[in-house]
């Protein structure tokens, strides 16, 4: 896939991601459906497999999920590298794309979070601030349980996926009740997956 991106296209990408940044309530991954619409369908800057690979790698690699946006930018940069005159060193454009995307998805929400939470910190005894923090705690706690449930429930092929459900249940119990190292559990999951047991 080769693209000819103008400066105005990069600005468009930046503007779109900055808007998404402020709409990303509940985490960066909630913007994935809209980014797919924008990057794959509307602008056609990425192919479907390229988009899916960025999501998969961003989720699997260690670090915050928002890295999938860096990877999308990276891939847009690679796709534009030939036309931009970087055919022999496409990674230069990849880095540019990743930088633009990461900057744009972070700056608006980070600015808002920093300003809002510093203000709240200075007014932490204010009943409104306390009510906001305490009132939302049960909601977001349930969101975590719902997220785990939704990931698991996506596998509905019961006889085949039973092992997957069992692994999720056992790792839930172990992390909840013991201090077993999380990387040990993830490694066990990786090995079980590689062996084709789950």
């Amino acid at each position: 896939m080769t693209l000819d991106l103008l400066a105005s296209d990069w600005l468009d990408l930046m503007g779109h991601l900055m808007l998404m940044s402020l709409l990303a309530v509940g985490g960066a991954i909630t913007t994935a459906p809209d980014l797919h619409r924008y990057l794959v369908n509307e602008q056609q800057w990425l192919s479907d497999p390229q988009f899916n690979a960025a999501i998969a790698l961003g989720q699997a690699a260690p670090g915050p999920n928002v890295m999938f946006v860096s990877l999308l930018g990276w891939q847009v940069g690679l796709n534009a590298a030939t036309q931009a005159g970087w055919a022999t060193q496409p990674w230069v454009m990849g880095l540019w794309g990743a930088g633009v995307a990461t900057f744009a998805i972070l700056v608006p929400s980070c600015t808002l979070t920093y300003v809002a939470t510093q203000w709240a910190q200075q007014h932490q005894t204010h009943p409104g601030v306390r009510a906001f923090k305490s009132g939302l705690a049960p909601i977001v706690t349930a969101l975590l349980l719902a997220t785990g449930w939704l990931i698991t429930a996506a596998h509905q092929n019961l006889p085949e996926d039973l092992g997957l459900w069992a692994v999720t249940a056992v790792s839930t119990l172990l992390v909840w009740r013991t201090r077993v190292h999380l990387l040990v559990l993830l490694s066990v999951g990786a090995v079980l997956g590689a062996l084709g047991w789950i």
Partner: protein, 189 residues
């Protein structure tokens, strides 16, 4: 439970701590953040973590990024927030770009798919366990344990079973819960 809390020694400590935390965070950083910040480093009590997480998840933007900004900013202002943010992102983003550059063709291979499937199953468990741990803080919530459980149940049903969009759930149940908490705080401060 009430053993004295620790605090980060400085911006470098924040940077290093969040780098190490992020590099352990396969399939999301939250479970590791709870482990490291509450159980190992003891910068936060379980209740503080639950409340900070509530704010981090409700404000727009990546949740763990928001959490890093809040914790860094609390101790060392803007410099602390940026140190924690840089720690969270620099090494993982560099790593993931190297991975994308070197193994980009591999994500469609069967073995890689199977490994990701196995790790995904564990990661789902990590997220749920973190939620279960945070439920233990309901007893100390000014809203009261029973009401917290009620709101948690309603949220779970709305999101996991009825599949109502998150923004709607946060707006309706979140507002109701905050208003109720506020009225209880006002009645008996």
């Amino acid at each position: 439970m009430s053993a004295a809390l620790e605090r980060p020694h400085g911006k470098l400590d924040l940077f290093v701590s969040f780098t190490l935390l992020a590099l352990q965070g396969f399939g999301g950083v939250l479970a590791v953040a709870q482990r490291e910040l509450v159980e190992r480093k003891r910068w936060l009590t379980p209740l503080q973590f639950a409340e900070d997480w509530a704010v981090a998840q409700t404000l727009p933007g990546p949740n763990v990024v928001n959490l890093a900004l809040m914790i860094g900013g609390r101790y060392f202002g803007l410099g602390g927030a940026l140190s924690a943010l840089a720690g969270l992102l620099l090494a993982p983003v560099a790593l993931v770009l190297v991975l994308a550059w070197t193994v980009s063709g591999f994500t469609n291979q069967v073995l890689v798919q199977q490994v990701l499937r196995g790790m995904g199953a564990v990661a789902a468990g990590l997220i749920m366990a973190t939620g279960l741990k945070m439920m233990a803080t309901f007893a100390q919530n000014p809203l009261g344990r029973e009401r917290c459980l009620l709101f948690a149940l309603a949220t779970f049903v709305a999101v996991a079973i009825l599949r109502i969009p998150l923004a709607v759930v946060l707006l309706v149940l979140g507002t109701a819960s905050c208003v109720w908490t506020w009225s209880r705080l006002r009645d008996k401060p």
